[in-house]
């Protein structure tokens, strides 16, 4: 079945340094990949979604590129901000109509001054 693997646990970064959170996946079918972000005491919300063509989605300075050859959808940002501290989930769906989304274990990003 489908699966998603993320950078494990807690990632601590100094403000201004680049962010890279890893996400790799396994899927039998054509996958759609998502990044969700959850700030403390808030609902998870969509950060990025992969496109079917080769466009690179970007939002709030974050970007991610779907590489089917390496089954990856890593989340990147050139310069971390204190407000980026949150829990990040990579998720996968496919177009088979099974209505299921598979989530990774989540990566907690902590940005320090």
């Amino acid at each position: 079945g489908d699966s998603v693997t993320q950078t494990e646990g807690l990632v601590t970064l100094t403000e201004g340094l680049p962010v890279m959170l890893n996400c790799t996946y396994q899927s039998t079918y054509s996958p759609f990949l998502f990044w969700y972000v959850q700030h403390l005491n808030e609902a998870p919300k969509l950060l990025l979604k992969s496109f079917t063509d080769n466009k690179r989605p970007e939002h709030q300075g974050f970007h991610a590129t779907l590489h089917k050859s390496s089954s990856s959808f890593h989340l990147q940002k050139s310069s971390a901000q204190l407000s980026d501290s949150a829990l990040y989930y990579c998720a996968l769906s496919d177009d088979t109509g099974n209505y299921k989304y598979v989530f990774g274990a989540g990566t907690r990003l902590k940005v320090i001054a």
Binding site: F32, K45, S93, Y101
Partner: protein
């Protein structure tokens, strides 16, 4: 825009007790989901529903029941709460008839079992 409202935000129960969580959405979305959130384990699907009165089991359905009597609401019942259980339950909805669209989440209901 719309909103997903989960009630209660905090639920404290006793071992063996039946506990119910409720979720309302005003997006007019067809598909609704219940996920369990545990630290280090991601979001695990408990139940989902693709339309009113439809119920589908997820990977973690044992020990839970669900009900979708109206398009706008989806409830989850813990049939027998386990002692020392602590988790956050997230409700979500999606407009897409296939699962290629985004999920919209509620803020969660935190369960503590004494």
């Amino acid at each position: 825009g719309g909103i997903i409202t989960q009630t209660p935000k905090f639920l404290i129960g006793q071992e063996g007790q039946k506990l119910t969580l409720k979720c309302q959405q005003n997006f007019n979305h067809d598909t609704m989901y219940w996920y369990r959130q545990d630290s280090g384990k991601g979001l695990r699907l408990i139940y989902y529903s693709i339309t009113e009165n439809d119920l589908q089991k997820g990977d973690l359905s044992e020990g839970y029941d669900a009900s979708r009597e109206k398009k706008s609401s989806f409830s989850l019942t813990v049939t027998s709460a386990q002692k020392n259980e602590m988790a956050v339950f997230l409700c979500a909805s999606s407009i897409e008839v296939t699962n290629t669209g985004q999920l919209y989440f509620g803020e969660g209901s935190k369960l503590t079992v004494l």
